[in-house]
């Protein structure tokens, strides 16, 4: 019975988002905002896509054990980022988020990604980039969990590393580069977008390579530990 209610709530929420809120935002942007339209529309769309995940988590009234395990994984991601802060773009956040998605499911993966990005910016500084980072890491964790559940992603070292490298390049790089462009330009041109990708590519490559290395080394032991804790205490067996 609660399962059914949850799905209907989710459907309602997403219907409202897709049919009402998103078109309204785009119309508002086009007619009212003029020069700042691109930035605001995209920022609001990012926030809208994150809201259902976060609100559903809130609605579900999660158990203490579930909360604490997710908090531990976020903290490991953040502390890891802090440990490697002197080398730019070498961050284990993506690796930890992907491992979480695979081990604990898409929802926990999204949550770990979004919260890690948010919390780590309390140590490294919040800025206009925070919502974008939350979205990028969150959606990477969600995809990892979803693909694993659907049997498209194997939990082996190599397949996870390939997925991690691609996710970093395509999702993180793909979204963060034009996002920084949107902040300061009136309109998007293909030239500007391509240039932003080209300028960001070296950094993205380092980030992707570090994610691959982290996953190669960490994937197996971390997954084992997470499975062990799940079996031992019987927690976080997400059915959806």
């Amino acid at each position: 019975m609660p399962q059914k209610r949850r799905i209907s709530l989710r459907t309602l929420l997403s219907l409202f988002l897709v049919l009402v809120l998103i078109p309204a935002t785009i119309l508002l942007g086009v007619f009212v905002l003029q020069d700042r339209a691109y930035y605001f529309i995209s920022l609001l769309l990012i926030v809208y896509t994150m809201l259902p995940f976060l609100l559903l988590f809130e609605k579900r009234k999660p158990q203490a054990r579930e909360l604490v395990v997710v908090a531990v994984l976020c903290a490991i991601a953040v502390a890891g980022r802090a440990a490697f802060f002197m080398i730019p773009q070498v961050k284990p956040v993506m690796a930890v988020v992907i491992i979480t998605g695979v081990a604990l499911g898409p929802q926990a993966g999204f949550l770990t990604g979004a919260v890690s990005a948010f919390v780590s910016n309390f140590f490294f500084g919040q800025g206009p980039w925070t919502p974008w980072q939350m979205f990028c890491f969150g959606i990477a964790g969600f995809l990892a969990g979803l693909l694993f559940r659907k049997g498209r992603l194997r939990a082996g070292r190599v397949s996870l590393s390939v997925f991690g490298g691609l996710a970093t390049l395509v999702i993180y790089g793909g979204i963060m580069n034009p996002a920084s462009l949107l902040m300061g330009s009136a309109k998007l041109t293909w030239g500007a977008v391509v240039t932003s990708y080209a300028a960001g590519l070296p950094m993205d490559l380092i980030h992707a390579a570090s994610t691959v290395v982290f996953l190669l080394v960490l994937a197996k032991p971390m997954l084992e530990k997470l499975t062990r804790i799940q079996v031992k205490y019987g927690l976080l067996r997400e059915s959806s």
């Binding site: 700042r36 909360l67 919390v119 080394v217």
Partner: protein, 296 residues
Amino acid sequence: MANYGFSSYHPAVNFLFFAAVLLFSMFFLHPVLLGISFFSALAYAVRLNGWRTLRFCLTALLPMAVLVAFLNPAFNHDGVTVLVYVNDNPITLESVCYGLAAAVLFSSVILWFSCYNAVMTSDKFLHLFGRVLPSLSLLFSMCLRFVPRFKGQTKVIAQAQRGIGLDPGEGGPLRRAKKGMHILSILTTWALENAVDTADSMKARGYGLKGRTSFSLYRFGRRDRAALLFLLALVVLVGWGALLGEATLQYFPRLSGKEITGRSLVLYGGYALLCLTPLILDAKEAVAWRRSQWKS
């Protein structure tokens, strides 16, 4: 510095101020409003973080702003006043102006965020959202607490490893990296086991039950109400002015804005007052303190 003047007001006041100022700063491309926002943000950042701010401006902010300023005319060829042709591409006056405005906008947003980071500490954030989003706030606060705790535990593990002859600081980079990963692995096991203990303890103390209260240091007093109403009034004033188009300057196809009338001056004044509120409140408190010392 932390609990003084504006920072010592209720978190709701702090949050409203930053939400309003950040939103307006991301919107307004009118040169007068840009100037007001930028200089207020700069002054408040210097007040909060000292002269460190200026070094940050010169080393980090300026290069980024220059990049933003150049990016626009290089890729956006809208606008009617052509200044010069570069590789058959027109560089227009409008695009150059837009680039400069965007650079100032970008800098003021970053400066406001640096003030936000100093004033809206995580405990204030938690106090505000703890009631609206209890689970997410708890997740967030546990995470904040775990980070320093894990760092401390990492040191303990490293010492234990040294004790059994596996000094993580010894050997070549490869060996060291391997030991580092080993420590991370030990940390994970410890943290997960520890987490379950924490969770059981939370449950035993009634986590999620009705009627539990939470500790907080903040009181919403009379001066907070006054400040909140003052800020709200200014936000309404500025928002109203913006809706009337007083804050708009059309950049494309040619620079065109409304004439500056009395109404626009009211908007400018209101916006300046809004942006300067924390500095004014800080100054007020400093004067009061000075005076009380002088009396005794």
